[in-house]
Symmetry: C2
Subunit: 211 residues, 2 copies
């Protein structure tokens, strides 16, 4: 099984603009990428980075300037092997959570595993998947989790879903930073702490604020 980690190397994490400067967003995105690569390895797999531009990373890097959907689809098309796609901003991912993803696939479990395994993200996204079906292609625009379920039905692929808060939490918006502070102890969490972020317990949910 290949494990591909797509990475927007240019102007990453624009939806964090209200919390971090452009330079900080580059650093924070790189910290999250490093966490994800280390977690994939800790789950016993060798990650590869699929980046929109050349980038320094502790893994082989392929550059594809295209948008996420055509770039990932090209990776799916170039091999008959199963391909896992794990987003680079899953700072909460653990080896256990990724193993649940991988183990639900036919690639790992030929008898019980599914052709397509999806880890839904908050807001209808798809944060990780394993594709072990030759005809399945992606559609990351909009409510991609629902679109991917529909795509799987179209090509008659069996589907499993991984119910994981850690995999559902892509770190895109300011509200997500609190999740990193609560649930991670990796590089991304250390970066936020160094940048002065702490948890604030005013109001309902806990928020990350900068001191």
């Amino acid at each position: 099984m290949r494990v591909v980690v797509p990475y927007a190397a240019e102007e990453p994490k624009t939806r964090l603009a209200d919390a971090l400067s452009p330079e900080e967003r580059v650093e924070f995105a790189a910290a999250m990428l490093a966490d994800v690569l280390a977690t994939v390895r800790a789950a016993g797999r060798e990650p590869e980075v699929l980046a929109t531009a050349p980038v320094a990373a502790d893994a082989p890097v392929t550059v594809d300037e295209r948008a996420l959907t055509p770039a990932v689809d090209a990776a799916l098309a170039e091999t008959d092997d199963p391909v896992a796609v794990v987003m680079a901003d899953l700072a909460l991912a653990t080896p256990e959570a990724l193993s649940r993803l991988f183990d639900a696939s036919r690639a790992t479990d030929p008898d019980e595993g599914a052709d397509v395994v999806l880890a839904p993200g908050r807001g209808g996204g798809t944060n990780a998947m394993v594709v072990a079906h030759p005809e399945f292609r992606t559609d990351y625009h909009g409510a991609s989790y629902l679109d991917h379920l529909a795509r799987a039905r179209e090509v008659d692929a069996s589907v499993a879903t991984v119910d994981s808060h850690r995999l559902a939490t892509d770190v895109d918006e300011r509200v997500d930073l609190a999740e990193v502070l609560v649930h991670s102890d990796g590089r991304a969490c250390a970066w936020l702490a160094d940048a002065g972020f702490v948890l604030s317990t005013d109001g309902g949910r806990v928020r990350a604020v900068r001191e």
Copy 2:
């Protein structure tokens, strides 16, 4: 194992005031409660409601006017049996997700289960737990997940955490309504659809908007 479902019967879901009228919030909260009670039963357990005021529900209702922490602590104190506490706004909960919670407890698995099982909610909350330790008490204010981890350490209770998007998603704020539309097919989802809510795919994450 007792399964207690706390329910704020008066002025529920105030943080949904920007999306729903007071009367609608009462209806929607009741639909979520009904979903949770049905899901607890589908997981093979008999739920009880712990409400702040008399309320009609398809389960025995105990009224305790106090805040969540003292009301739940009183429920913990009145029995030596293990007690599960499942929030009434977990509209995405499934029997499978609740079974993962229950099965991680010493109450279900005396050999491998933990004294305290926690299902963290988004924003540092605690959306469900199973307590099988006589000294553990709750603290639902602020980052309760971290506080509950600390409490368990203080009383030397072993802890397990359930990594579930469905249990992490308490439906408190407008942004959470999209999760119900994407992931639920219960009464709460039907209520939202009847009230005119649909998914909108503008921007990053999918949002629930009213037509």
